[in-house]
């Protein structure tokens, strides 16, 4: 397992260092500009999650998956190593960016705004959803999987707009967010904060396990 993680880091070290530095500078700068912490949290989560994924699309570009599958490891171990590496890199990068923003002058919010349990859970939930859907597709289909994911999201958005515009169904994504938020707040009110937070963590773990199982299922069926 460690050999697989080390291999991915060695083969992508330059790319990770260059992109990591760029993300750090860019997101730290943005962190000083935006007024609401949620904006930088969402953007940082998105970009930090993208960083480890780039290396897997590189493997697809060079058709280097053959090498991976000729090494003495199982495909399940390969997928597991990539989930661990992706999550570790995303969390480390995200934490680093937030820490750098906090020491920069001119920021518009303090450490309490991003290093509290609600914001951390929000960031983790966002990562879970984002990586949970994207990772299996990238590992199985490479770049095409990433594009397919983005295209499906776009088509979903367009479909909801059209359905709403032609009055086939009243379904606006913009109205969905407040509904979800209200539902979560109601749930927290009824369960109490500790139980609600624990439930959220359990759900994130379950979603990640489901995503991992699906990724293994897909990757085992990949022909090189």
């Amino acid at each position: 397992m460690l050999d697989l993680i080390r291999k991915d880091l060695i083969l992508n070290k330059k790319l990770l260092m260059i992109f990591g530095l760029l993300y750090l500078v860019y997101l730290s700068y943005l962190g000083m500009q935006v007024g609401h912490p949620r904006e930088i949290v969402v953007l940082s989560t998105l970009m930090c999650g993208l960083l480890p994924l780039i290396q897997y699309t590189r493997e697809d570009k060079f058709k280097a998956g053959v090498l991976n599958c000729s090494l003495p490891v199982t495909r399940q171990e390969t997928v597991l190593s990539r989930y661990i590496l992706t999550w570790a890199m995303t969390i480390v990068m995200y934490t680093l960016i937030m820490a750098v923003i906090m020491v920069l002058p001119g920021r518009k919010f303090g450490p309490d705004a991003v290093f509290n349990i609600n914001t951390v859970l929000f960031a983790l939930a966002f990562m879970t959803l984002y990586l949970g859907f994207l990772l299996p597709l990238i590992l199985r289909f490479g770049l095409a999987g990433m594009f397919a994911f983005l295209i499906v999201l776009q088509l979903f958005g367009v479909a909801t707009l059209l359905l709403d515009r032609y009055k086939v169904a009243h379904f606006r994504l913009s109205s969905l967010a407040p509904l979800v938020k209200k539902g979560l707040l109601d749930l927290r009110a009824s369960l109490g904060t500790p139980a609600y937070d624990s439930l959220l963590v359990v759900l994130m773990v379950l979603l990640t396990l489901a995503s991992f199982s699906f990724a293994v299922f897909l990757y085992k069926r990949k022909d090189f």
């Binding site: 291999k7 000729s70 199982t74």
Partner: protein
Amino acid sequence: MDHALELSRVGKRYKGFALNDVSLTLPAGTIMGLVGPNGAGKTTVIKLILNLIRRDGGEIRVFGLDNIRREAEVKARIGFVHETPHFIEDVTLKDLKAAIAPFYDKWNEGLFRSLASEFGLPLDKKFKTLSHGMKMKFQIALALSHEADLLIMDEPTSGLDPVFRRELLERLSGILQDERKAILFSTHITTDLERTADIITFLHQGRVVFSLPKDDIRDRWGLVKGSNDLLTAETRRLFKGLRQTSLGFEALTDDIPAVRRSLDSGVAIDRASIEDVMVFIDGRDAHA
């Protein structure tokens, strides 16, 4: 005798191509040459052994272990050379080696350095800057450096200069000083097989035409030349491939004694080379 590799009724279906009931056995201490025209299924067989593609049926055992259920153990004992080297290209050879070596318990760093020096590999250069021949040499150095028990090589000599090709073939023969080891390699260059292989497996249109010791082929397979009036429905059955011109026929047989009995002195029989076998089986009943 222990078997390094056993394929039993292995199948794989693609749109427009199917590998059907491929069975072969590679005993330890031998070199098997996998030969056949383009699209015969050689690379597919090799990919199936390494579980790079999923098989639709059959069984594959490497040193008695199922290649899927015991995948990691099996692959630890295999040194693999792909026909087209696929690595992340903008990485130096040194880094590629550093990424791959830890996977193998038997990695021999001294051997790798000695091979790298012998092959003239520039370890500080990026993989993408190498010629195809050098890329193949790098792959070969990696495959040999973990002291694999089974070497599987898909067209390892393609893109190599004749001097290195011969050196490689000699090195492969040398590896079999250890009789627990075995080598399977596919090639189009039939002279490589004549020089090195103990067993020749001929694939054609996804089927094994034969898998025989090289000496058996030498003894049993022949090129028969004679006049067209000798060709009857009965004599044609003796041939695996036939070429006819207005001057006479040339045919391939896998049963020289039977041809001698049926046609006696009316024909000339020469030993068939592996290339003859390939050409005739690929173009059965060709009429020039």
